[in-house]
Subunit: 186 residues, 2 copies
């Protein structure tokens, strides 16, 4: 961190320690050697899951979307099951847990496909995308501030909901397009 | 905001006013009528652009990616040109400005395709995606903390960079997949 040649952190000051995020103001060395201050939201990272209710090899398979209240979006939005990593929790274990909590389902197979930064201009949050197949349903276990409806949706319908802007959550749209392009029919 | 029936804001407390983001802790009414506190990062929103260097109707057209230093990602990452809305700035004007600043290009046509929440679990940031066609090149005008290299890339190559995880910025991967699926060949 203190290598004088390399861009990166020079110093860090914690402004806020929160439930979901922490806010730091860091002194940063840029690639030109100059330094400046940047705000950065520290996030533990998250896992997200596309759960296949039918065989992903089927013609137009069905996935599970959820419809969830999001204060930041001022209403209910479509998402895929997802949630924050607990301290020390491996990403796959988080995906298994969130799938069970939000949909009640367990999966015979959980496969990691892709990892991405949500919005690297101001946060280090990364989301790990998994595909879940061989589902067995059970009871969902929602936290007190989660309001979730499970919505089985055919891939063709999910793609239409992205195209027309009804699905407007980046991780959800990206994950469905990634799976449609690079997982199905591979 | 104070409708007793509707989920949403009950009260808001500003924790931090920053350069790029503000942090509030809000008291929120949830869909079940109960209230609780949520951290929310307030962001002015942003525009992002996929600039087509060649005719988008061409076989495997070329787009402009940028390679940019991102402290949050601890290095240089591939992105599409993008940036924050200035106060009162319309999204299309922001797209035109960011395209010019980051690549030096102006576009004969700027078309809005899609708008999405980057990570609605903790921020209200929205990104407005545009496609720019009919490019004319000029001088880029980077801000002092921007370190950007312009990388012309064929769509087929960009899709491979997403598939193999080299492109790992959500807005960039989502925008390229959206344009490949819903704009090209329409």
């Amino acid at each position: 961190m203190t290598d004088p040649e390399r861009p990166g952190q020079v110093a860090s000051r914690r402004i806020h320690t929160g439930k979901v995020i922490n806010l730091d103001i860091d002194e940063v060395r840029f690639p030109n050697g100059k330094t400046g201050e940047l705000e950065i939201i520290r996030h533990s990272g998250a896992s997200a899951v596309i759960p296949f209710l039918s065989d992903p090899g089927a013609d137009d398979p069905t996935i599970l979307l959820i419809r969830q209240y999001r204060y930041a979006a001022d209403g209910f939005i479509y998402e895929i099951p997802a949630g924050r990593l607990e301290p020390g929790e491996p990403a796959e274990q988080c995906a298994v847990r969130e799938l069970r909590e939000e949909t009640g389902c367990t999966a015979a197979k959980m496969e990691h496909l892709y990892t991405f930064f949500t919005t690297p201009g101001f946060t280090d949050e990364k989301i790990h995308l998994f595909v879940a197949t061989g589902l067995t349903s059970g009871e969902s276990e929602l936290e007190s501030d989660e309001f979730v409806e499970v919505v089985p949706t055919q891939m063709s319908a999910a793609l239409k909901l992205i195209k027309d802007g009804t699905i407007n959550d980046a991780k959800t749209a990206l994950s469905i397009l990634y799976v449609a392009g690079f997982f199905l029919g591979r």
